[in-house]
């Protein structure tokens, strides 16, 4: 399965998860959220993670983001061990996490001000990314005036504005309606092809995973570990029409049945 090799232009390892284990102590004993999670992500790669709820998908993302610490093992980004959050790793949350007291423009500029960039540059960068997500007409609006899809576009623009080399997306389209979701998928794919950032995308939507990713990681639950890695050998640019092709259907069905089996296992 070498259909995507042209996109893995460098082949350099971007992220290395080494035997990551995460245990949450609870009143009813320890819960092993992740055990022996091992993964290499190449530069510019688009990875999607699917799996039943409670399989530790968000845990591994939070560890990569530096928001949580692994119980054992480590995550290396560009060869350096992750130890706390950093601006080179952008995160997009399912709940948008926009600052409600700031306008769209000020939200996008939040991290840029912390970087202490010159004013003109901050303005130029935020204009560029607000244009990228097509919200020029709303740059002075507050989040409460925006729809869910628009809010998530702002969050994506805010993450991109920091120019991260790795983008971590935690079910970013999970709260959106089907139409908005497909629209944002297309936009994200376009952005990925122009901006060339490594993407680690968590979703519970199998179709979404297959249309976006070069590799789909299927997780198994309790303790969370990788069950299977599926190469999606469908060339880019992918569009919504890609979903109608036979190959897409085959891969989607395969991933779907694996996830479903995992779900049945979990219920036993």
């Amino acid at each position: 399965m070498a259909g995507n090799s042209e996109h893995l232009s460098t082949g350099v390892i971007k992220v290395q998860a080494k035997d990551v284990k995460k245990i949450y102590p609870t009143s009813r004993g320890d819960v092993v959220a992740l055990n022996g999670f091992q993964l290499d992500i190449k530069e510019n790669e688009f990875i999607c993670v699917v799996g039943p709820s409670g399989c530790g998908k968000s845990t591994i993302l939070n560890i990569m983001a530096g928001l949580e610490k692994p119980t054992s093992g480590e995550v290396l980004v560009d060869g350096k061990s992750v130890n706390g959050p950093g601006a080179e790793r952008g995160v997009v949350f399912q709940q948008y996490a926009l600052f409600p007291w700031l306008t769209v423009k000020k939200n996008v500029e939040f991290g840029l001000h912390l970087k202490k960039l010159p004013k003109e540059e901050i303005g130029r960068i935020s204009d560029h990314y607000i244009k990228m997500v097509e919200l020029q007409d709303f740059k002075n609006a507050y989040p409460k005036e925006l729809s869910g899809g628009m809010k998530q576009r702002v969050a994506i623009a805010r993450a991109y504005a920091m120019n991260p080399s790795l983008l971590l997306l935690d079910e970013p389209f999970g709260a959106l309606d089907a139409q908005t979701r497909t629209q944002l998928q297309t936009e994200l794919l376009n952005t990925w092809e122009t901006e060339r950032k490594t993407c680690f995308f968590i979703t519970h939507d199998v179709e979404e995973a297959v249309i976006l990713a070069q590799r789909v990681i299927i997780m198994s639950a309790r303790p969370g570990r990788i069950k299977e890695i599926v190469d999606v050998d469908i060339p880019y640019p992918r569009t919504q029409e890609t979903k109608l092709t036979r190959r897409f259907g085959e891969i989607k069905n395969h991933v779907w049945s694996e996830v479903y089996n995992e779900y049945l296992e979990q219920r036993k």
Partner: protein, 258 residues
Amino acid sequence: MLKKKVEFDWSGWLYGLISLGAAIALWMIISHTEAHVVFATPAEVWKAFLEGLLSGKLLLHIWASLRRSLSGFILAFVCALPVAFVMGWYRPVRLLLEHWVKFVKSIPPISYITLIIVAMGVGEAAKVTVIFIGSFLVMVINIYQGVRNVDNTLIKAAHVLGAGDISIFFKVVIPASLPYVMVAARLGLASSLTTLVAAELTGAQMGLGQMIQEASMYFKMDIVLMGILIIGIVGTVLDRAICLLERRLTAWQETRSI
């Protein structure tokens, strides 16, 4: 952008007028029964009001009361802000102070007025201190709840955008708690007025509470009623003022319907 045109709210005003008219009518009916001994008629109260106004005494009473309650309130607000933020942000400080704040808050200020008067005398300082304590505790509790309620996702979002603890405190925690600060200010102001009257009843040269106290000794019920109404009006006006400020400062809030 997206600004809705504010239309004049006819029905709101109409019902407001009906409600006011009904209240005055009810007052008139009551004051024309045997209850008149206690309840002066609207006309008598109005006359007492005009007399007080013309002699200049009423304004002096209002000013004395306003100055006391506002200085107690403003002092309390200025002190409550840092204390509440530090309590919300640092666990050890919270653990040390929380129970005491809640304990003292559960004591009505009227019950320790005597203690403070014995300690500080009957002057202004004692009254302002009582008002300060009550108002301060109410505001600390509310602001600190706001700090504790800051959405954790926002803190995470700021973290991944490169914010350190200090930036998060000033750029996320403080603005996110602003709605609670405004609510706290309203409650603190209400508390300061409540305590004010209690403090003035214990003895003062001037002030609305003192005016009521004195009038009741001579059974001038028109002045008593007038004083009560003025306290209500002053409280309402101050509350509306904070409300307006709140609407300006926290217009970004999701739940606020304009």
